[in-house]
């Protein structure tokens, strides 16, 4: 009868008793499991690159078409807040990297401290971002029904535009600043959304870390979250250069 388990078999898995509790049933060993999870995370970040890639493409095209409008638009951003936020994020990346190191070397209190610091820095970033957003709302620079061209048609009436020495834009060009602010809010908004999700996961991780979950040898989750956090930071560094520093080179 042809029906048969007709295949060469390897040695039956002998080492059942040596499996650590966090090894999932369908993996051969811990290395394979960690490898697969890390690879999956990199692929996920690749999808994120493509996701932001659509926005960067739009930015590239419109910045080339409406360069003057984009310069005037960027003069409305507060470079000091932006720089401070860049610093905050870079420091948070450092604390996160230290957190991964603490998990790998099984330092529980160090890990908890690093995660809490990262959490606070993340919140700090969002706080500063909300100050910036409220400035835009006050000046009616949010695209949509209430969008105001005042700062671009008459730069002398606007402190930021005046300080940057902007010349008045013709009406059609001034209207294109709305494209700039559309992209500004989209890109920074998407970035902030990623920060909020990250901070939520950090909160969960702090609780688990205090229970000692990541300092018993199973550090995949911390490592992969670290990758995510650094990725979100890198996106910000691009955004900072592209949105804030258009005319400052």
């Amino acid at each position: 009868m042809p029906d048969s388990p007709a295949i060469a078999h390897g040695a039956p898995e002998a080492a059942h008793h040596e499996h650590p509790p966090y090894l999932r049933h369908h993996f051969e060993n811990v290395e394979q499991q960690a490898d697969a999870a890390g690879f999956a995370m990199w692929l996920f970040l690749l999808t994120e690159v493509m996701f932001f890639g659509g926005l960067f493409t739009a930015y590239l095209i419109y910045r080339n078409w409406y360069y003057r409008a984009f310069v005037s638009g960027s003069h409305q951003l507060n470079v000091y807040w932006g720089t401070l936020n860049t610093l905050v994020l870079i420091i948070s990346s450092f604390t996160m990297a230290m957190g991964v190191w603490c998990a790998e070397t099984r330092r529980k209190s160090g890990l908890v401290l690093c995660l809490i610091l990262t959490f606070i820095l993340g919140l700090g970033f969002l706080g500063i971002k909300s100050i910036e957003y409220s400035e835009k709302i006050e000046k009616h620079h949010v695209p949509g029904l209430h969008y105001s061209l005042q700062s671009f048609l008459d730069p002398d009436s606007d402190a930021a535009a005046k300080a940057a020495g902007d010349k008045p834009l013709p009406l059609d060009l001034a209207r294109h600043t709305e494209v700039y602010f559309s992209l500004y809010f989209l890109m920074t908004g998407m970035h902030a959304l990623h920060m909020i999700i990250g901070i939520g996961i950090l909160g969960f991780m702090i609780l688990r870390a205090r229970a000692g979950a990541y300092t018993a040898g199973h550090v995949t989750f911390v490592e992969n979250f670290g990758l995510y956090w650094h990725f979100v930071d890198i996106i910000w560094i691009y955004l900072f250069a592209l949105l804030y520093l258009i005319s400052r080179h």
Binding site: P5, A6, H25, H26, L46, G53, H176, E178, L186
Partner: protein, 564 residues
């Protein structure tokens, strides 16, 4: 017809194994919370079929309306909603997930000798996202629908229509993540979970095809996601990225949308091509001719597929030079598809061909896909495209590829692996009939549309000049035959769950690892990790294995008798 290769166990003694992935646990919760790739595949199969029949019913309505030149069955805006929902449901909730989410989910771990996909929870999550998206789309359809066409073209979708663009967009967005997670899971699994000895060039071509399709899912889907977010924000807040009055450009939407939606065509067809490679080898008893070429042509389709999207936009105001370049690239993408068709044909040469149902569907695929693919070259030529685009020629072309190609491959695959999935055979004669009915119905439905298109009948209108009626009547009549062809499998496959012949491990005498274990498989797939010690499609190896096993059995019998 030549002799059959089906080898079933002795039906008087054979039983479907008591312990298998279907019987391991019982109750609805054991299904809804499962991490088993095979159970998730079954969940997908049931829900996909459900959405397929809703999409099919909408297609029926379209054909009924087009039976007469006047708009008599429904108002024109209802017609717009009907064809839009037909497109949305068929593309995003049937074609994109069809083969990968059902057969791919079920078979990839079995074929590479793994116990499960690398990320079982993500796999289940992808089904929930799919269901959430699908139900939201259905809800939208019942509470008003959307009438932009499945392409959500701006500024129509952002400024001019009052229908539910937002909820439909959200549904597609959510379903997109389901597709991303499926693709991601496949790539990780194929890289990291292969059994010892299962090198890249010993993988079944089904796995190669899914690997290529997964690359497309992972890289292209996020782009349509962001495009939909932009449409939604433009519609609600009024941002200015696509709005020409503010300096935005609607063409940018077209670029972002087709950057996904063209590769999506290959997301749909590549897994189908994987199925065809398996069936054609099994039913000709030969290794697939030019294995390496077929494997790399999948990857080549995935790569080229990313650089042809603008051929959807030849009449939308892109520059003539862009038209030239994209026209050339479109011709190039036909090459790897042709490589596959030629290699499959050479596989048939001097093979011992038998005509079981999966093979009939396979032949259907090869004929119809070739016509669909070649008419694609007409459309890739910018001169003819300007005449033919937005006519029924386009409709016929992509239905030949999607329905004639993909759906045929899906049915070939479902029949081919049905014994593995359920442990029972489908009834052969009636299913052969269904395959033939589908083929005839399909040609009756869609071939007249090529002629209608060349005569100039535009797509997306509820009425047409009376001189087009004869061909439209042909098409509608064909659609009703096609409908029978699709209903039959549902009936006899359901019947076979209880009354089908017991299939045994390897009814087709196929070589894949999935055929060397019991059907239906155990939850853990393999009791011991298999070691792959031969090439893919090695029928000599299979024969030797069978011989060895017969000898072993004989020896056992001898021992028993001598001991007695």
């Amino acid at each position: 017809m030549s002799a059959t290769i089906v080898s079933l166990p002795d039906q008087s003694t054979a039983r479907v194994p008591k312990v298998n992935y279907l019987t391991k646990e019982n109750g609805l919760l054991s299904w809804l919370l499962t991490g088993d790739h095979k159970r998730i595949a079954i969940l997908y199969l049931i829900s996909l079929s459900f959405f397929f029949f809703i999409g099919g019913a909408l297609a029926g309505l379209i054909r009924l309306e087009l039976l007469t030149p006047q708009t008599d069955l429904m108002a024109t805006d209802t017609y717009n909603k009907v064809f839009t929902m037909h497109g949305v449901i068929m593309v995003f909730f049937f074609l994109v997930p069809s083969v990968p989410a059902t057969l791919g989910n079920f078979l990839i771990p079995l074929m590479i000798g793994a116990k499960d996909l690398a990320l079982p929870k993500i796999n289940l999550l992808s089904w929930y996202l799919y269901m959430a998206g699908g139900l939201l789309a259905l809800y939208t359809m019942m509470t008003g629908g959307v009438d932009t066409g499945w392409t959500f073209t701006t500024p129509l979708s952002t400024h001019y229509v009052n229908t539910s663009v937002l909820t439909t967009g959200l549904a597609v967005f959510v379903a997109g993540f389901s597709s991303i997670f499926t693709g991601l899971n496949f790539i990780v699994t194929i890289h990291k979970m292969r059994a010892p000895g299962m090198t890249w060039f010993r993988l079944p071509l089904f796995v190669w095809a899914h690997y290529a399709a997964s690359i497309l899912m992972v890289l292209a889907t996020p782009v349509v996601a962001i495009a939909i977010v932009l449409v939604a924000l433009e519609r609600t807040i009024g941002i200015g990225v696509f709005d020409p009055t503010k300096g935005g450009d609607p063409i940018l939407f077209q670029h972002l949308f087709w950057f996904y939606s063209h590769p999506a065509v290959y997301i749909m067809i590549l897994p189908g091509m994987g199925v065809i490679s398996e069936t054609i080898s099994t039913f000709s008893r030969k290794r697939v001719f030019g294995y390496t070429a077929v494997a790399f042509s999948s990857v080549a389709i995935a790569v080229f597929g990313f650089f042809v999207w603008a051929h959807h936009m030849f009449i939308m105001g892109i520059s003539n030079y862009a038209v030239l370049v994209f026209s050339l690239l479109t011709m190039l993408v036909a090459v790897p598809s042709a490589i596959k068709i030629f290699n499959w044909t050479f596989t048939l040469y001097k093979g011992s061909i038998t005509f079981e149902t999966p093979m009939l569907y396979t032949f259907g695929f090869m004929g119809l896909f070739t016509i669909g693919g070649l008419t694609g070259v007409f459309l890739g030529t910018s001169g003819t495209d300007i005449h033919l685009t937005e006519t029924y020629f386009i409709v016929a072309h992509f239905h030949f590829v999607m329905v004639g190609g993909m759906l045929m491959a899906f049915l070939a695959g479902i029949h081919f692996w049905w014994p593995k999935m359920t442990g029972r055979m489908y009834p052969e004669k009636i299913s052969q009939l269904a395959a033939v009915v589908t083929f005839i119905g399909f040609n009756f439905t869609f071939f007249p549309q090529f002629i209608l298109g060349t005569l100039g009948m535009p797509r997306r209108y509820a009425s047409y000049p009376p001189e087009f009626q004869i061909l439209n009547v042909f098409s509608t009549a064909g659609a009703s035959i096609l409908g029978v062809g699709y209903l039959l499998p549902v009936l006899y496959l359901t019947w076979s769950l209880k009354y089908g012949a017991v299939a045994g491990n390897n009814p087709w005498q196929a070589t894949g690892l999935e055929w060397q274990i019991q059907s239906p498989p155990l939850t853990e797939n393999f009791t011991e990790t298999p070691i792959m010690d031969h090439e893919a499609y090695d029928y000599e190896w299979l024969e030797n294995q069978n011989k060895e096993n017969r000898n072993k059995e004989r020896q056992k019998e001898k021992e028993v008798t001598s001991a007695g």
